[in-house]
Amino acid sequence: MATITVKRPDLNTAEKVFLPEVAKGVALTTRQLVKNLFGRKKDIATRQYPEVKKQYPDRFRGRHRLMRREDGQVRCVACMLCSTACPANCIHIVAGDHDDTGIEKYPVSFEIDLLVCIYCGLCEEACPCDAIRMDSGKHPMPSFSRDKQRIRKVQLLDEGSLSIAKQGGTHK
């Protein structure tokens, strides 16, 4: 095996005696202490989290939301493309007949298990209707039960807003 010779830095006398270096170190920490305690310009890097939140980048994939049509109905047509594309199998859709023959189907229930979701964004890529989006910019929320982590159609729609992308049905 090849041997690597590590070149150690040569210490000068002050460094060998160690005490001057200790004094320098204490001076440095004291400077930082005084600066962070009394100084006008502080170096503190801590963000006070619940009060001050970080601005996420625009393309941050957060919690899902379902978009609406112009009349407020859900845009989802229960085509199952998202739940098929989902690598974690966390999207559960029950489809039902829609009265409008131009739309044909709508989700009777639409559930996403946030504990299973891996936030890959494949569902919003697969969606042909611009119905599911992950641009809410919100974290998965904490809760005290597993059941509350399965978010349902109502909650998903609460986050949703109007989408003006073209879609079938009488509301063209």
Binding site: V22, G25, V26, N36, L37, D43, T46
Partner: protein, 365 residues
């Protein structure tokens, strides 16, 4: 005074000094140290446990609240006892660690006593032993028992290793610690702490206070190094090196027992600070201020006395701060480096310091 009166007075003074000053500073230190380390490392430290909300003085509210929350937490936590531990030794070990640290305060004078040789009573001292400094060493070396017995009684390998390290480290550094005070005894010619402090009231050449730090600069540095090692704090915290030994000698202690161990450690810091302030920083002496003395050699109590007691407390707090600052500046030594530093560098240096002191004193005399 009768023996009973002396005993009652001493108990009262002990209660005032230990409960009124030492315990309070030790409790505050638990929080101050966390805040100090936080600011050194560009953090903010604990600031959430508001005692009376955020409306009035939110920082003070969080400061006091955190202390009370910590105290409540350790009080209600489960007091776990390892099934194979030696129950009695495991139970008394925290007390064994705490009591020596509190007993040292018997001989620390907080204010001026009678001038050396004069008859009188020192109101700021519990017991004016004529072997005061030796008493400090006798008691302080008992501190090793608490840690070692606690470690041994827990029947855990982490604890055992921590306990062994404690014993080895404390015994090694005690030698240096004691030898560096011999220089002080030689210069001031007394073991009695009161006499030593009166001796430090003189001025060299009329302006430089004859403090221990100025007549024994090397001695002070060596003393401080050994004293930090005695308190088992970084950079000498090998006995509890958390990255190697879980928590070292108090791994198997929880709840209030653990808190008593760490309280003993904090009191140890204040104790070290008090000894350093007494023997090296002139105790209650204020430089260039004469202590007023009446005809019998007893100090006249007045505003100067108040200032002197305050000045002593300030010196103690400064030494506490300095120890904390060093603790958050230096990384931990390796175990062989610790032993080498103690025996190969510090011990010969303190012996050399002793010889030089003797030679200089002989030349000056």
């Amino acid at each position: 005074m009768s023996a009973l009166e002396v005993a009652l007075w001493s108990l009262l003074k002990f209660a005032v000094i230990v409960l009124g000053f030492v315990m309070i500073v030790a409790t505050l230190l638990t929080m101050i140290e966390r805040k100090q380390s936080a600011f050194i490392q560009n953090r903010v430290g604990p600031n959430r446990a508001f005692l009376w909300g955020k409306g009035f003085a939110p920082r003070l509210s969080a400061f006091v609240g955190q202390i009370i929350a910590d105290a409540l937490k350790v009080l209600v936590k489960e007091d776990f006892e390892p099934p194979m531990a030696n129950k009695w030794l495991h139970r008394i070990a925290p007390a064994l660690a705490l009591i020596p640290a509190m007993l040292v305060w018997l001989v620390i004078p907080f204010g001026p006593g009678p001038v050396p040789g004069a008859e009188g009573h020192n109101y700021f001292l519990i017991a004016d032993l004529n072997a005061g400094v030796l008493f400090i060493f006798a008691i302080a070396s008992l501190g090793v028992y608490g840690a070692t017995i606690g470690a041994w009684a827990s029947n855990s390998l982490y604890s055992l290793l921590g306990g062994l390290r404690t014993a080895a480290q404390m015994i090694s550094y005690e030698v240096t610690l004691a030898l560096n005070l011999v220089g002080i005894f030689m210069i001031f010619g007394s073991f009695q702490i009161n006499d030593i402090i009166w001796g430090q009231g003189h001025h060299i050449g009329g302006w430089l206070p004859m403090w221990g730090i100025f007549v024994q600069p090397l001695g002070f540095i060596l003393f401080l190094t050994a004293a930090i090692a005695e308190t088992k704090r970084p950079p000498f915290d090998l006995p509890e090196a958390e990255s190697e030994l879980a928590a070292g000698y108090f791994t198997e202690f929880s709840g209030m027992r653990f808190a008593v161990f760490s309280l003993g450690e904090f009191i140890g810091i204040i104790m070290t600070a008090a000894i350093a302030a007494t023997l090296f920083l002139g105790g209650w002496q204020i430089p260039w201020v004469e202590t007023p003395v009446d005809a019998t050699g007893n100090p006249v109590l007045g505003w100067i006395t108040v200032a002197q007691v305050g000045f002593f407390l300030l010196k103690v707090l400064f030494m506490v701060w300095l120890q904390n600052q060093i603790r958050w500046t230096l990384p931990r030594f390796r175990y062989d480096q610790l032993m080498k530093l103690g025996w190969v560098y510090l011990l010969p240096l303190s012996l050399a310091n002793l010889f030089i002191t003797a030679a200089v004193m002989y030349a000056l005399a």
